[in-house]
Point group: C2
Chain length 271, copies 2
């Protein structure tokens, strides 16, 4: 209705965007019926019905009785994407070993669209937490308040970090969260200097994490790893040093293996 000037650059297809609005709504509502979705999205029933029918024909949505749900197709495609990721393929067993050795939670993360995504999580023996925490990869989250995130930020080009901050800001999570540019850039330099990152109750009160980046041979950061646990335990001096050693060492092992494999990866895709 309002005359949007035909926005110059990339012409975005509204029909496709709306399809993903439907997907997001189905996620938010944990499945929904036609009318419910129509209200939620401010579209007419018939339009929503057509989107759902199409998504269903594409097998990304299932209908159970009268309610529509996202289908496991997302999981299948998602697992494919994860398996394509070299950091995941190489890092997974190493992270498992790290969790076993330290007994703490271990994480493998990467960056996408300026946010952090966990590729894999394992909990060691000492790690106690809700089943939910361990089993669910939560949504993409800010990079500036996690150990994995800060390790990544520290090795991203400065202009990219600036872009990310412009895009998402630096929202606080606890009293310890870094929320200003200057502080953050200082922190990132410290991280680069000492080779590991620390999340000192900046995300969750009582939780500390130690992270280290994984970069490829060209200096590009592929992602990062971390271990985390209760501050009380994590802060004991000798234990702390030991953990840093383990994390940095594991990151190093992954790095070497990734770079050995990636030499073949520079070829253009065949046919």
């Amino acid at each position: 209705m309002a005359d949007e000037p035909t926005t110059g650059s990339p012409r975005t297809l509204k029909t496709v965007s709306r399809a993903f609005d439907v997907v997001r709504a189905l996620e938010e509502l944990d499945g929904a019926r036609v009318t419910e979705l129509a209200n939620h999205l401010d579209l007419s029933k018939s339009v929503v019905y057509n989107y759902l029918s199409t998504l269903r024909a594409e097998k990304f949505v299932v209908k159970e009785g009268d309610t529509y749900q996202l289908s496991l197709q997302f999981l299948l495609v998602g697992e494919y994407v994860r398996y394509q990721n070299i950091l995941y393929r190489i890092g997974k067993p190493e992270i498992e070993e790290l969790a076993e050795k330290t007994g703490e939670y271990a994480h493998l993360a990467t960056e996408q669209h300026g946010l952090g995504v966990n590729l894999y999580k394992v909990s060691g023996e000492k790690a106690v937490g809700s089943d939910y925490q361990v089993n669910k990869l939560q949504r993409a989250d800010y990079l500036h308040f996690s150990a994995t995130g800060k390790a990544i930020l520290a090795h991203l080009p400065k202009e990219r970090v600036e872009w990310i901050i412009d895009q998402y800001g630096l929202p606080g999570k606890t009293e310890a969260t870094i929320t200003t540019r200057e502080e953050l850039f200082e922190e990132l330099e410290t991280i680069r200097d000492r080779g590991y990152s620390l999340n000192d109750e900046e995300e969750i009160k009582g939780l500390q994490a130690i992270g280290a980046p994984v970069t490829n041979r060209h200096g590009r950061v592929l992602g990062s790893i971390s271990v985390s646990g209760p501050v009380r335990r994590m802060k004991q001096p000798e234990y702390h040093e030991q953990l840093i050693e383990s994390v940095v060492n594991t990151a190093n092992v992954i790095e070497v293996n990734v770079n050995m494999e990636e030499s073949d990866d520079d070829f253009p895709t065949f046919s």
Copy 2:
């Protein structure tokens, strides 16, 4: 299999379908550039460019240099969908225990759109196979030649089984695969009678699997589990009986727990 005349009941949105064509092409090609995709999909460059831009704006695609890839967004949504599935939430730890106890591969599967989807896999100590096999959930596959699939089919309404056969046929995979309706329906009755299913080299030569269904209190089948291993080992009489016992027992435990949690309404399922 022929195209439907456009005038039909559910009006399907071509723009949305094409967006998913792009997604599938990106999966097939392991990422691609604009021109490559345009050729692959028989669309003009500019059109493909617009689809990619839109998918990127929606964060389901990332651009690395000049090549476009599916993003981890699929994994995040997929993990959400999996976690929504009660069979996964309840079954996962039980399947892990089953794999540990038996030492074999253990699977947790469900049905969607008439095909089988693995929700979870674990490999026990004795199970040796390629890393790939274990780590990757492959695409949705036929139900009629796996132990999990047959256990599911055996407890689906007959008309639904008919629909599935009409839709996908009964393609052979090995010499042992069941490829006729009559044989299959007989087999399904046997499975119902004895309470477990057997895949005797019907999918992969040399591999046997034992499966059992998980149904809810209304008799609707939610999915199934299985263990699998080399025929030589699996066929040893006492071991065989022991495995059946373990599988049926685990399925039962999951069933009880699911039904305790599922106090609410349930709808009959359609595709």
